[in-house]
Symmetry: C6
Subunit: 200 residues, 6 copies
C-alpha cells in the first residue's frame, strides 16, 4: 500500500493538498484528543491564518455536531491537538480548512478517512467551502501520490480546465459547497470501518 493509504486508516488523519515553492504537495493533518484543560494545541510551525483555520474547524464541529451526527459532547473536559508534519516546515494559509474539519470529524466519529481521498478548501464558521488557489499543482501532486479522489470547492470548478486530461481521467473530482459534503465523501462508511482498518 502507498503511504497515504496506510495513514488514512487511523481515525483522526486526513490528507490535504498544499502549494509550496516547488509545486504542489500532499500534506497530512493529524488530530488527537486527550484528558486535560479544554482547548486546542496546534503544532507544525503553523502561521496565523492556518491556526485560525483549525479554530474555525473545531468551532464549526462543536456548534453543528449534533445536527451532523458527530458526538462532540465527548470533547467536554478534553483537549484537542492538531499537528501538521513535517515539524520544521513553516505552513500557512486557509486552504487546509476542509482537511482540518475532516480530520477532527474522523477523530470524533471514530470513522477513518478513506485513504484514496485528498481535499483542499477554505472553510467558514458556518461550513461554507470557499475557493482556494493552486488547483492545477494540487491535483498533479495528488495524482503523483496515488490519490484517486479529490474534493475541491465548487467555486474552483473553472480551474479544472487547467488540469491535464491525463491526470483528470485518473481522478474522481468532487465539488463541494458545504464542508458537511466533504466530510460525507471522505469518511469511510460506518459499517466499513472495521474492514478498512484490517486491510491497512
Amino acid at each position: 500500500l502507498p503511504e497515504s493509504q496506510r495513514d488514512g486508516s487511523m481515525p483522526g488523519v486526513a490528507t490535504g493538498l498544499a502549494v509550496t515553492g516547488a509545486g504542489g504537495d500532499v500534506l497530512y493533518v493529524e488530530a488527537a484528543t486527550m484528558e486535560g484543560e479544554a482547548g486546542l494545541s496546534l503544532t507544525g510551525q503553523l502561521g496565523d491564518v492556518m491556526k485560525e483555520s483549525a479554530q474555525i474547524a473545531l468551532s464549526y464541529l462543536r456548534a453543528n455536531g449534533a445536527r451532523l451526527g458527530i458526538p462532540v459532547e465527548a470533547l467536554s473536559g478534553r483537549r484537542v491537538h492538531v499537528h501538521v508534519p513535517a515539524g520544521a516546515v513553516p505552513k500557512d494559509g486557509p486552504s487546509a480548512g476542509v482537511t482540518m474539519t475532516t480530520a477532527l470529524a474522523s477523530l470524533l466519529s471514530g470513522r477513518p478517512v478513506r485513504p484514496e481521498v485528498a481535499m483542499t478548501g477554505e472553510v467558514s464558521l458556518t461550513g461554507r467551502v470557499l475557493p482556494i488557489g493552486g488547483v492545477k499543482q494540487k491535483l498533479l501532486a495528488a495524482h503523483r501520490h496515488g490519490i484517486t479522489e479529490v474534493v475541491l470547492p465548487k467555486r474552483n470548478e473553472a480551474d479544472l480546465d487547467d488540469v491535464p486530461a491525463a491526470v483528470l481521467k485518473d481522478l474522481r473530482v468532487h465539488l463541494a459547497e458545504d464542508v458537511s459534503e466533504v466530510v460525507a465523501i471522505a469518511l469511510a462508511a460506518e459499517d466499513a470501518t472495521a474492514r478498512t482498518v484490517q486491510a491497512a
Copy 2:
C-alpha cells in the same frame, strides 16, 4: 437565490459593507456559540480596532439583552466565536460594529437576518450608532450584490447625496441612531422564521 440570500437564512450570519483598496465590498460576519470557557474567539485576520468592535458588540448585548428581549443568559458557560471570511484577508476598522451586533443578536435569538439587508456603522458600548466612511462605495457594492435594503448611521445621512440616483432608487435606506433599531430592521420577524429557513 443570490449568495447573500442563502447565507442570510441561518441564524448567526449578517451582511456588512466594507471599503477595500478596490472600492466597496460585501462582507459576512459569522457567529457561533459552543460549550466551553466563557469568552470570545475571533478569527479572520482581524485588526485591533475590529477585534474591539466584536468585544463591544458582545458586551452591549450581554449588558442590555434583558431589555432587548434577547436571551443572553444562554451564554453562561458558553464560548462565542466570531469569524469574518475570507480567512487570509486582513481586515480592520470600527464600521462592522452594527454587523457584529446583529450577527450575535441573530445567533442568540435564533432569528435569521433578512438576506436582502446589509448594514454598516460603528457601535458604542451604550448602543449608539456612530458615523463611518465610504458610504458611496458601500452602497454601490450592496447594489451590485443584489441587496435591496441597507442600514446606515443617521449621522451619515448627508453622504447619500454622493450616491447615484440609479442606485438609490433600488435601495431602501434606513438611518439608525441606536443599534437596537438596526437589529429590529435586520432580523426576520419571529413568526416568519420557519418559513424563511424553508425557502432557503
Copy 3:
C-alpha cells in the same frame, strides 16, 4: 436636547474633556457590567497610561465603595467593560481618570451623570485629583458643546486665567481635590433619577 445631554441620561456614561492635535474636544466614557470572569475589558484604542487610569478608577471604587455608599459588592462575579469612542482613534494620558471614576460610580449606583457636566483630572489610587494640562482648550470645547458645568482639579485653578471671560461666564467651574467631590457634583440626585430618565 444637545447630544451630550441625551448621552448623560443613561447610568454609566460620563462626559470628559480631552486635548487633541486640533484643540480641545469632548469625550464620552462608557461603562457596562455583565456576568462573567471578574476583571476589566478596555476598548477604544487606549494607550498604556489611559488603561492604567481605568484600573485605578475601578480599584479606587472597589476599595472605597462602602465608605462612599456605592454598592461595589454587586461587582462580585461580574465583568466591567469601559469603552471610549470613537473606536478607531488612539487615546492616551491620565486626565480621563475623574471621568472614568464618575462613569463607573454612575453605573454601580444606577444614578445618571448630569448631562450638563463635563470633567477632567488625573486620579490617584487614594482618590486625590491631580492636575492636568490643556485647561483652556478643554473649557473652550466644553462651551462649544453646550456644557454648562465643568469640574477641574483644584491644582489647576491658576489656569483659569487663560480662559476667555466670555467662556467662563457661561460655565460653572468646580475645583476638586478628591474624586469623591467630582462624583458628588456629577451624579444626578437620587430622587431626581426617574425624572431625568423620562425627560431624555
Copy 4:
C-alpha cells in the same frame, strides 16, 4: 498642613524619595486592597525593576507577616493594587523597595505612616535594606517638602557627608539594615491611630 502630612494620614500611603533628571523629588506609594483574584496590580508606568520591587515587598510581608505582627492572612482571596503617581511619568529602579513595603504594611495593619517621615532603600526578599544612590539630592528634596525624618540604608551612612549641614540639622536621619526597622519607625503608634486620622 503641608500636602505630605495630609497624604500620610491614610493607611496605605508612604512617602518615598526619588532621583529624577532634575534632582531629587518626593514620591508617594499608594496601596489598596479589594476582593478579587489574588495577585498584584501595578500602575504608574513602572519599569521592570520597580515592578519587581513591589513583588518583593508583598512577598516579604506575606512570608514574614506572622512574625512581624502584620495580619497578612487578610490577603487571602483579595487583590492588592500599588500605584505611584503621577500616572504619566515613567519610573524605575529598586530604591522604592522600603517605601512599597511600608505602604503595604500600613495598609495591612491599618496604621497610617507618620506624615513627617520619608524613606529610600532597596529591599531584598529576606528584608535586608540595600544601598541606593542619590542620597544628597533625596535629602534636599525631603527638606524642601517639609519632611523632618528620613530613613536611609545603613550602608549609605557615608553618603551623609555630602549633605549640607543646614539640611541635616533639620532632619532626623535613621539608618536601617532591615526593612522591619523602617516599618517600625514609619508607622504611627497603634494607640495614636485614631487621633492622627482625626487631626487630618
Copy 5:
C-alpha cells in the same frame, strides 16, 4: 561505567543524537513529573520546533497510552517537566521527537531506558517516525560515546551508506517506522528494572 550508562539507569532519561556546528553529539532528554497545574514545562533554551516536539510526544502518549500499556492516567493533576542540558546552549529542530517520547514513556512506566541505546527521529502526532538529517555525524558521535545500539527512522536507511564500516560494525542499528517500536527497543525489560538500577 561510562556516563551515558549511569544516566540511563534512572527512569525518565533518554539518550538522543544531535548535530551541532561542530559535528554530531549525544544529548540527554530528562523528564520529571510532580503535583501541580496540568501542563508541560520546557527548559534548556529550546527553540519553537523543539518545544512543539515535546508537546507532540506528550500528546501522543496521552492519546495512545492505554493501547501501549503506559499508565498515562497517572498524569491527571500533575505537571510534566522536560529539560535538555546543557542549560545555556540553544537547541532546536524536530529530531529529538523519538527521544522525548522515550524519556516520557520511561518516566510514566517506571522502566529505565537501556543505557547502551541512543536514538534520533522526528515523531508525528500519530506516532509515525519521520526522517531526519545528519545520520553520519550522529552515528560517529554515538560510537565515540560508547553507545552500542542506535534507533533511526526507517526512511533514513539509505543514509547508512555514508557511515564508515568501522563504526557500523560496533553499532546495532534499528530502523523504526512507528515510535512505539522505538520505545519497545529502548526501555529495559520490566523484569530487568530492579537489577539494572542496582548495577548503576
Copy 6:
C-alpha cells in the same frame, strides 16, 4: 560576623559565586514561600537561562523531595518566590543552579545554609551537577568574602590548577556530581539549627 555569615543563618538563603565583567563575586539566592496560586515568582532581573535554572531547581526538589527527606508536600497550594539581589543588576547563566536548589532545600527543610559555604554549578533535572566557567575568579571572590568552604562541580576539578595556592590553602573545596551532595554539605546539621540561629 561578616555579612555572608549573618545572611546564611536564615533558612532560604544560599551563597553563590558568579563571574561579572569585573572578576568574580559572591551572590545571594533568597527563597520564600507563601499562600497563593501555585507557581514560581522570579525577581532580580534574571535572564532566560537563569530563570530556567530556578524552574529546574524547584522541579528537581518537587520530583525528588520524598527520596531526599525534604517535605515538598508543604508546597501544595503555596507560591515560591526566588530573588537574587541586587535588584537592578541583570544576571544570567546556568551556574546558580546548585545555589538555587540549596536555597530552596533550606527553605523547605527549615535548616539554614552554613554561612561559611559558597557554591557554584549547573544542575540538570535529574540532579546532575554540570561544569561551569570562571572557577579561578569565583574562588578568589569567595576567599575575599571570608568564605572557608566551596562546592564545585566534580567536572571542574582540573580548573583548581589555576587557583593560587595561597587561596586554596584557606578553602576547603568539595567536588560534587549530584546536587544532593551539595545540599548535604551546605545545610546545617538538623540538631545544630536552633543553636546556629541563636548565634546569629
